[in-house]
Amino acid sequence: MVADGAEEARGKRAALAFAAVALVLGLPLWWKTTETYRASLPYAGISALGSLRFQLTVPVSVVFAKGALPGAQQRRLPFTDTKEEESLLNSKTSVTSRYETTYRSATVTEQAALALATVKEADAALLPLQDSLGALTVYVIPETSPLLPQGVGVYIGKHRSAVMRCTQGPGDVLAAVSAWVQQIVQAMSFTTDSIATALSDRVPMDQLGTDTRRPFKSSLGYEITFSLLNPDPKSHNVHWDIEAAVNSYVQPFLDKLGSVANFSVDSQILYYAVLGVTPRFDKASSSFILSALSLPHVINPVEARLGSSATSLYPVLNFLLYVPERVHSPLYIQDKDGAAVGTNAFHSPRWGGIMVYNIDHPVPDKAPLPLWVDVDMVRVMEVFLAQLRLLFGISQVSLPEEFLLESPGNDGLTDWELDRLLWTRTVENIATVSTTLTSLAQLLDKIGNIVIKDDVASEVYHAVASAQTAMLELASGRLGSAFQASKEAVTSSERAFFDPSLLHLLYFPDDQKFAIYIPLFLPMAVPILLSLVKILREAKQSKKEPTKTD
């Protein structure tokens, strides 16, 4: 019996050893060899990005020309004043606008510039003195100064400065000035509304107007395509000198925007491309009418012909010039009230614009068909350029009457308009990065089969770091570097999100996994489990009757 007992104990030990080997060696080995590789991700950073507390700092200098301030207040210069204004867009998004205003008196060169004959010359002369992107300067001149024309209180120049007439009144002049400055700075940088527009993805729809969905989403590049649609080449031989028109009108504008995104411009002529709607004949004016209600149906059939860009992945802005068929001309677009639209053009949000170009037909039977038509590119381009500005979200600022805006000139874009665009684009980029990374983190959390490679992880780290840099730069008022950082963040986050390696093991169904595991695991696990159960039961019994062992 002793030998039997020893034998039994040995058997027990062997069974336990099997269980131990399977548990200690087999299980981790199996786990290690079949696990999907997941590099660690900065989840804390991502969730911190989920709630965006923007702090946008605008450095403003208010420069007082000689005689603009009464002597008593002049002595208080220079000093710095900071104003903060917080607005809560939703529980996870808030914007704090911070205006760091420096009040100082004019230097000699500035004084000389402000003494020039016209305000335009002064604006040009002040350009070399100005700061970097985003920083604004307001020059306050005495009420009696002849620089500003009569009835104009504020002049906003082509660059990053404004000239303002100081109204001498009773009470604190500085306080009055700072109220004006506030208004000027908001016009030249951003308002809460413009930032809310940029964050439209995070803000409920009903809080915003219809215009907010118009501008294109922020992207690293855009393709601009001008298409001439000639549905009736039998009667019209239409020619346009698009190359010269692009070079003289569009290119300067795009050069100015070069820091915002890459642009490529091309054009094509499409024949037999018709609108999707048959225009209605209006007897009174003997012309054809496209009503505003039917405009949504116009684009789809044309779009099939436009063709997407084969060589890049950037969004395409389409500008179509439509020359109506001979039988349907002249063709006019009617707005909702039934009045003809002056420019005969309309635009589609985040898509592009269409302009109808009517041709003057000579008396029938006089000219042989097809009629040679040279398109008046000035007329066309002014419409397209206006639409282009709208689609980029560079809208006209509504200002009080005393404000005088300098026209943007040849570039089609002033420096401060570019700043406005950069402010909103930076905010929008950061919001996009936040959304992308949050959804990526959620996705990875939900689906355990997704492989996260090291390069994907490093892109995510880079995106988070860049987004944080961009936030910090915004808070310290360096717009240029903030925008660059936000651009990098967008690139990295998109690259991580769309990395094809994420999908490699996604479609590996569980039932197939089990089908492969069961033939191996069942025969191995059952004896181990059974003997463990047996050992446990025996151990219990031996506890109950401890005396029996002796």
């Binding site: 003289s248 009108y249 037999y272 084969a310 419409v383 206006a386 033939p519 004896p527």
Partner: protein, 581 residues
């Protein structure tokens, strides 16, 4: 939106008044379009219809910043300038051109998809450009060109020379691939039609009705882009986009046993106008007959003019319908070209073409096999050389030492051989040979191969269908029977001007043989699971006995009363009266 335009408008007018409305109605258009349809009755009684649309663009496409397109499609233009393409030839074909019975083709293409591209010498990474280019083309033409990779791409050294203007003949800039498995259908035709300036709305393209075009024995659509000389002095370059489409109608089945045909019968449409953008729009009907009596066939309406040309070593007569001629649509509003045979023609007078070839795979079993190619030269007295290009996928391992070329029972030594062996899963075999074909001879080329075993994920869907081997390509300058006079390429019909003819005595022919279908050893695809199950069972059995052996406790068994057998035996013994065990 309208208001905003006004503000800017004023400013623009002030700034740049001068360029408005310029463009100059005197400047000649920088691009032109020609369209052409060639209808040629084939010796077998079928009818071949070849459409050619040629857009010519007088522009330096590769100069920076040219991005304004008129007749040249934007999608292709962008592609050419982005990837610095010098020449691009893409064809998508369904069916096989039977050279023996249909005669020499004007432009043959191999079954499936074929793409060959010459890049500019400024391209640094040709393979990368080739990969991206084929991917984008795949998107443009809705074809599976994205399956082109290093395993089916070759760089031929002699067979594919640039067809257009080229001073670079460094063949490292050339890539060639064929996908014989590709099936061509309407989804490929629609994007092809979309590249035409007139779409399918006007001109000859009206006839391109997918329903009829794919109800044919042969359908081949192609895009050829090449630089050409702008004028005779050839100082500047123009770009030429040629879109060709060839279909072969089986006239017997369409015409209920009669061989008469008309445009309406074939395309179920008629031509009503030329494309208004085309500078030339013509229909050619081949009315030449072998015998001298011309009354064999009759075309209606009577052609306005007749064009005589020497095409592929043969003098041919074409009835020409110029759609731009004002007289054509005077009588009736639409043109329905009809052809009637005056008397039933015996289809036995098949004249075999000078050069034709066939290829087959032979052998038995699943281990080795043999590819045989037969090349026929039926010219009565002239010998000529031919370049043969063979591309064989890596999973057929060619034994080059078994390469045998015999003509008239004697060995024929090729004067040039270029062989690039395959690398498994990396690149295919490439074999190029220059072979002299004696007059009136058959040359047989055989080479043996061994079938490789593939990994189970490398099998295509439906692997028992077999694996395609792309057709071999024959390029030759075939001596002409008659003297041909050189014609100006701009004046002559399009179908004669794609391959430049070097001199009057010979003409260029490129032929493709049949694609081959080879069966590879195909496993049972449930095998991996069976293997897993078997291995697991073996492991489980071994493990089980091992486990038992180690964990069981062994006792010495006390002798028992015995089992069932013993008791049964005792009962029997009792009955028999024998003492029990």
């Amino acid at each position: 939106m309208a208001g905003a335009a006004g503000v800017l408008g004023l400013l623009l007018l002030l700034l740049l008044g001068s360029p408005g409305g310029c463009g100059g109605s005197t400047a000649p258009p920088r691009d032109s379009l020609r369209e052409e349809l060639l209808l040629s009755p084939l010796p077998s009684g079928d009818l071949a219809a070849t459409f050619q649309f040629r857009a010519r663009w007088d522009s330096e496409l590769h100069r920076e910043g040219v991005s304004h397109y008129r007749l040249f499609p934007k999608a292709l233009g962008q592609l050419l300038s982005k990837y610095l393409v010098r020449e691009l030839h893409l064809s998508l074909t369904q069916g096989f051109w039977r050279t023996r019975t249909w005669g020499q083709p004007y432009l043959q293409a191999p079954a499936g998809a074929e793409l060959w591209v010459w890049f500019q010498d400024s391209v640094t990474d040709v393979d990368k450009a080739w990969k991206e280019l084929s991917n984008i083309l795949s998107g443009i033409f809705c074809a599976s060109l994205n399956f082109i990779d290093s395993t089916n791409t070759v760089t031929p050294t002699a067979s594919f020379k640039p067809l257009g203007l080229a001073n670079v003949t460094d063949h490292h800039l050339l890539r060639y691939a064929v996908l014989p498995r590709e099936v061509v259908c309407t989804e490929n035709l629609t994007p092809w039609k979309k590249l035409l300036p007139c779409g399918s709305k006007a001109g000859l393209a009206v006839l391109l009705k997918a329903e009829r075009l794919f109800h044919t024995s042969y359908h081949s659509q192609a895009v050829h882009i090449r630089p050409i000389c702008r004028d005779a002095s050839c100082l500047s370059v123009s770009w030429e986009l040629r879109q060709t489409l060839t279909v072969v109608f089986d006239t017997f089945s369409i015409g209920q046993g009669k061989r008469d045909w008309s445009l309406f019968k074939m395309f179920s449409r008629t031509v009503t106008e030329a494309c208004p953008l085309a500078s030339e729009s013509k229909i050619y009907v081949d009315i030449s007959s072998k015998t001298q009596e011309n009354e064999l066939l009759e075309v209606t309406p009577p052609p306005l003019s007749v064009h005589e040309a020497s095409v592929q070593g043969d003098r041919r007569t074409y009835a020409v319908y110029d759609l731009l001629s004002p007289f054509l649509f005077n009588v009736s509003r639409s043109l329905n070209v009809q052809l009637k045979w005056k008397r039933p023609q015996d289809s036995l007078d098949l004249s075999t073409p000078v050069l034709h070839a066939q290829r087959y795979v032979s052998g038995y079993g699943l281990q080795t096999g043999e590819i045989s190619t037969l090349i026929y030269n039926t010219h009565p007295y002239r010998a000529f050389p031919v370049i043969l290009l063979e591309t064989v996928p890596w999973y057929l391992r060619l034994y080059v030492h078994t390469l045998v070329i015999t003509t008239k029972g004697k060995e024929n030594k090729p004067s040039y051989i270029h062989y690039q062996p395959a690398k498994d899963r990396r690149r295919p075999h490439l074999l190029e040979m220059l072979i002299q074909l004696p007059a009136n001879s058959v040359t047989k080329i055989t080479i043996q191969f061994e079938r490789a075993l593939l990994k189970w994920t490398e099998y295509t869907p439906d692997p028992n269908h077999g694996f395609y081997v792309s057709p071999s390509v024959l390029s030759a300058l075939v001596p002409s029977v008659i003297a041909m006079k050189a014609e100006d390429a701009e004046q002559s019909p399009l179908f004669t001007s794609l391959f430049p003819s070097s001199d009057g005595s010979s003409y260029f022919v490129r032929l493709y043989t049949e694609p081959l279908l080879v069966n590879l050893p195909t496993p049972d695809f449930s095998m991996p699971y069976n293997v897993i199950c078997l291995t697991c069972t073996v492991v489980a059995v071994c493990y089980g006995s091992f486990y038992n052996l180690l964990t069981r406790t062994f006792h010495v068994e006390e002798p028992n009363r015995g089992g069932l057998a013993k008791r049964l035996a005792n009962i029997i013994r009792k009955v028999r009266g024998v003492p029990p065990l």
